[in-house]
Point group: C2
Chain length 259, copies 2
């Protein structure tokens, strides 16, 4: 009846490191098998099995059996948004401990966030689109303008498909940059387009993305982003489009073993 216990139940589920790792691994929208999730969460298959049962029962994960394996994915975008929110809160949390992030530089630069792009690149893209009045965006609401519609049309990004039964355009607060990037159907369409045209590639076993040489060129001409676009510089760093390419393959997988 009271809402406290209800949210506690769900939060406690997410609050276990092993389960949180599983959920994080699914944040990019992929579906993974029980074994794979056991591996990324760093626990034995038996333990993982228990965790996955709980997460499924609670409705956080959706399950598809196929032969002798079981595929799991996040049950709904709402789950992904809660996880996003937790990252944001976790970042802003420990008062002045912000921006101490060492490592994960690849992730900060470009990554997927459920079904769209995130990281410095995504924030810059969002900035440009707003700057050119293709999109109206504040921290919480988004709207595509007529000019924006034709811009995407010319670019060959098909928005009609994506916008059928889905949210059209929304901002998503970037937990590493602390500024919004594009989510929703528009955000997803941009990621699709970028992957399809080899602007970016997935890094194996990670949510990280790397920008290809083609991507550097195309992003520059398409969005007018130069090699080293101006960043908000809250920590003095400047990112280049290809940043993190060389420095880190940075496989995100956890090592198995006891917690």
């Amino acid at each position: 009846m009271d809402t406290g216990p209800k949210i506690a139940q769900v939060a406690a589920l997410i609050g276990d490191p092993a389960r949180a790792n599983m959920l994080s691994a699914l944040m990019d929208g992929r579906t993974l098998t029980a074994s794979e999730l056991a591996y990324v969460s760093g626990v034995a298959p038996q333990t993982a099995s228990g965790h996955l049962a709980k997460l499924s029962d609670a409705g956080l994960l959706a399950l598809a059996k196929q032969g002798r394996r079981r595929y799991f994915r996040l049950a709904s975008p709402h789950v992904a948004r809660v996880l996003e929110g937790l990252m944001v809160v976790a970042q802003e949390g420990p008062a002045r401990q912000r921006n101490l992030w060492r490592g994960g530089e690849t992730l900060r630069h470009a990554r997927t966030c459920y079904d769209h792009m995130a990281g410095r690149i995504a924030v810059v893209i969002a900035d440009r689109l707003v700057q050119q009045s293709f999109i109206l965006l504040d921290e919480d609401g988004g709207q595509l303008t007529d000019a924006g519609r034709s811009f995407f049309d010319e670019l060959g990004v098909d928005l009609r498909l994506a916008s059928k039964r889905r949210v059209f355009c929304r901002p998503c607060l970037d937990w590493s940059e602390r500024r919004p990037h594009l989510a929703g159907a528009v955000g997803a369409a941009i990621l699709d387009h970028a992957l399809e045209h080899d602007w970016v590639e997935h890094v194996r076993d990670s949510r990280a993305l790397v920008v290809t040489p083609v991507g550097v060129r195309e992003l520059a001409t398409t969005f007018g982003i130069e090699g080293a676009p101006p960043m908000d510089g809250h920590d003095g760093r400047v990112g280049s489009l290809s940043g993190g390419r060389v420095s880190a393959i940075a496989v995100e997988s956890a090592s198995p073993g006891r917690r």
Copy 2:
């Protein structure tokens, strides 16, 4: 470095029933003392003190000392949004266990959600505003139209104040109705207006709101909502504007004692 552990830490914090109760109690934006929070969470003051220290350290709560008491409030709207999100997920979670809600009828009808209205009434209001093209709204983005701007002007709702340094208009998925209501500056302004003109009143020790007779009349004329507005009826219920007024004072406070 990996994001899993980080979100687990925050989620685990929310995942304790006592702490979840505290956070829930603060969802309406109030500031409460340590004692009050101990009471609503149903634990002894010593225990509450420990919980509050953890929540503050983690940056979920902001603390203001005043004399011999300590006032706590949610540290940021982001925290409120995570809590909202958890409620939504908790609702949609247990597969077919939805809409079993007994009790909390007052809450379902009208309540505050951080700083704006939620519940059936808020959803209906949002519906009407959309219907009359005062607001463009989908599940994730919102925009006030020119017509809407003058509508609120005439109504005497001051949007200029609120929109200074704040998100202007955004939808917030209603966890009891599972459809969006208005949040952001516009949502907050509407709640302010409703409270100021005695359309609704706070229920003591609860997030619930009751609609006054004045409110029933004014809401009807202002938004064209009749006594029993059509609901989406996913559970066959129909709510009236004054629904829940008589049936329940339904004080939300928890009884103290062991968990």
